[in-house]
């Protein structure tokens, strides 16, 4: 009962949020929340650490941007093509990476994603260093104009809530239970007769596809696709979001995404405030040192705070 009330409260909060906060920032947070949830499906519920998820996120953003801008496809098809691209890439990268376990798996995903980074850097349609610009938002179902930020926000919110529900469904399905078994003890799952490699691959493809959906939506919202989104630092960022919020928890990645994006946006303000309070000039440059601060959070989380915020809360309440 109280849980249902909680969900309802969150939903109401999300519905009125764009009247309080800047809608584009909110949409960006929603995209990253979905990206982190998709990533969490893999690390949190299958136990596979991918360091190449930027390839799906940023790659799908490019593809969606291209088909919307150059081919003139409608909004819905654009998202679908981007997601399909991410799923296909996920199938290729995942298929290669699951041939090795543990730390090698992570290194392979990182290396293959880097290869894709170079492909996108050189491919003429991405615009290289300049990025793919002026992607049109178009119309939902051919009628509703998405150029209005508020309309766009509600469309994005609907997509995100639906996808989140899908992820929850996957986790609680028999398929999700098998994934957890693989995470806990892979040899035992094999000995129980499960074809572990197929389950891992399917989880990887699902995760990649949903990460791609998040990237596609982000490209439409902001109207551009950039190299930053396919770079490995983006893969690192999504790991951090999930780690901060709590790996293997449902809402952890969402919370992590909110915190990290808010931090990226507000770090400059925090820096100037610190400079005022402490009178140390250096803090004024904090806004340009986002990587340094994210690195520090990374180190602190790994050393002292491995369960993440939600995980830590859950452990306290038990």
């Amino acid at each position: 009962m109280s849980r249902k009330l909680g969900y309802a409260a969150v939903l109401v909060g999300l519905l009125i949020a764009p009247f309080v906060l800047y809608p584009v920032l909110l949409m960006k947070i929603l995209c990253f929340a979905l990206f982190a949830c998709a990533f969490n499906l893999l690390i949190g519920f299958t136990g596979l650490l991918s360091f190449g998820h930027a390839a799906f996120f940023g790659g799908a953003a490019y593809i969606t941007g291209h088909v919307l801008k150059v081919w003139g496809l409608p909004f819905e098809l654009g998202l679908l093509v981007g997601t399909a691209f991410a799923a296909a890439t996920g199938w290729l990268i995942g298929g290669l990476a699951i041939r090795r376990q543990g730390i090698y798996f992570t290194m392979i995903t990182l290396a293959l994603a880097q290869m894709l980074f170079f492909v996108f850097l050189q491919a003429p349609f991405t615009g290289g260093e300049d990025g793919l610009q002026s992607i049109p938002r178009g119309y939902l179902l051919g009628v509703i104009d998405l150029r209005n930020d508020l309309t766009m926000y509600y469309v994005v919110l609907a997509i995100m809530v639906a996808t989140f529900a899908l992820i929850v469904r996957i986790i609680h399905s028999p398929f999700g239970q098998v994934l957890k078994a693989v995470r806990e003890n892979e040899p035992r799952a094999t000995s129980l007769g499960y074809e572990v490699a197929r389950y891992k691959l399917l989880a990887f493809v699902l995760s990649a596809a949903l990460a791609g959906l998040a990237g596609s939506v982000k490209a439409v919202i902001l109207g551009f696709g950039t190299l930053t989104d396919v770079h490995w630092s983006m893969s690192g960022l999504v790991v951090l979001m999930t780690l901060v919020g709590g790996m293997g928890t449902l809402f952890g990645p969402v919370l992590g995404a909110i915190i990290i994006i808010a931090l990226e946006n507000k770090l400059g303000d925090v820096g100037s405030w610190l400079a005022q309070v402490t009178e140390i000039e250096w803090f004024n440059t904090l806004g340009e040192s986002v990587t340094m601060v994210t690195g520090l959070i990374f180190v602190l989380c790994v050393l002292a705070f491995r369960r993440g915020i939600i995980g830590e809360l859950a452990a306290r309440m038990r």
Binding site: T291, M292, V299
Partner: protein
């Protein structure tokens, strides 16, 4: 003279540049393999420490007028100390956990180090002059051989082979290899394994710093020089497998040469060829060319 329609001098020039890059690959992947063998940690910070080695050389010359030759010894020592502090204060707490946490921790350290250097020096590269003793080139008849590049290849090879000798042929190396197989048993024989772990990490990152100093005059000294390299090194490590010391050296050199030759014959592929080879190796021989499943 031409070979497959490419001027011979350009061909050998790229071949040499490939060997130079290959030497860096070899030294870095060797350090990664030695660390992984004993600590079970993939040291993401390897690239950042390589970058710091190059920066120390640059800073030594720029601020204190310390020559390249002194820094070639001093920078690896300083980075080794720095690495040992990291190992003692942070990495040590993660050995009981999943190996992934070691990777995540060193990734965070990488971001911090890069961030610090970026906030001081920006992203553009700092030029570093070739030391006066190694300026110029000799004419070999079929090509001009830049002396500094030849020096890089020779110095790296000597360091790599010395490492191989120490690990495979000396008593100290025997302890290390035994520790890699079974640390508890080695400890039972009265060897201070925690100290050995610390020293090994220090040695591994010192190799990275040494490569960094060697690289300073060839490449520009920039805060991002390490992170661009580390991903390629990971691919090299996956291709070679981390089981064998000589394997790491050979794989590193060979991939550098292949990359250099790709630059001559099909430049569009030069940035991706290592990753393509990795994919092929994974399909044919998942454990890596010299690897064994752990």
């Amino acid at each position: 003279m031409e070979i497959f329609g490419i001027p011979l001098a350009a061909f050998f020039g790229q071949l040499l540049l490939g060997l130079v890059n290959g030497s860096f690959y070899a030294m870095l992947s060797l350090g990664l393999a030695v660390i992984f063998g004993l600590l079970n940690v993939i040291n993401f910070a390897h690239g950042a420490l390589y970058m710091m080695g190059a920066f120390l050389a640059w800073m030594g010359l720029q601020y204190f007028g310390i020559s390249y030759w002194v820094m070639l010894l001093l920078a690896p020592l300083l980075i080794a100390l720095f690495g040992m502090v990291i190992e003692r204060t942070m990495l040590r707490w993660l050995y009981q956990l999943d190996h992934l946490y070691g990777l995540l921790l060193t990734f965070g350290i990488t971001l911090m180090l890069e961030g610090v250097f970026r906030s001081f020096y920006g992203v553009s590269g700092q030029p570093f002059a070739v030391p006066s003793q190694l300026v110029g080139a000799t004419d070999l008849g079929f090509m001009m051989l830049p002396i500094y590049r030849a020096w890089v290849v020779v110095a790296s090879l000597v360091v790599c082979l010395a490492t191989w000798f120490v690990i495979e042929k000396t008593r100290l190396g025997a302890y290390l290899r035994a520790g890699t197989e079974n640390p508890r048993m080695v400890e039972a024989f009265g060897i201070n394994v925690p100290l050995m772990v610390t020293l090994t990490y220090g040695f591994g990152v010192a190799l990275a710093a040494f490569a960094g100093v060697l690289a300073a005059p060839v490449l520009q000294v920039s805060p991002l020089m390490g992170s661009n390299l580390i991903v390629t090194i990971f691919a090299v490590v996956v291709i070679g497998g981390m089981g064998s010391i000589l394997g790491s050296i050979v794989t590193g050199l060979a991939l550098g040469v292949i990359e250099g030759l790709t630059k001559v014959f099909y430049p569009e592929l030069s940035s991706t060829v290592v990753f393509i080879i990795m994919a092929i190796v994974l399909l044919v021989r998942p454990a890596g060319l010299f690897g064994r499943e752990k």
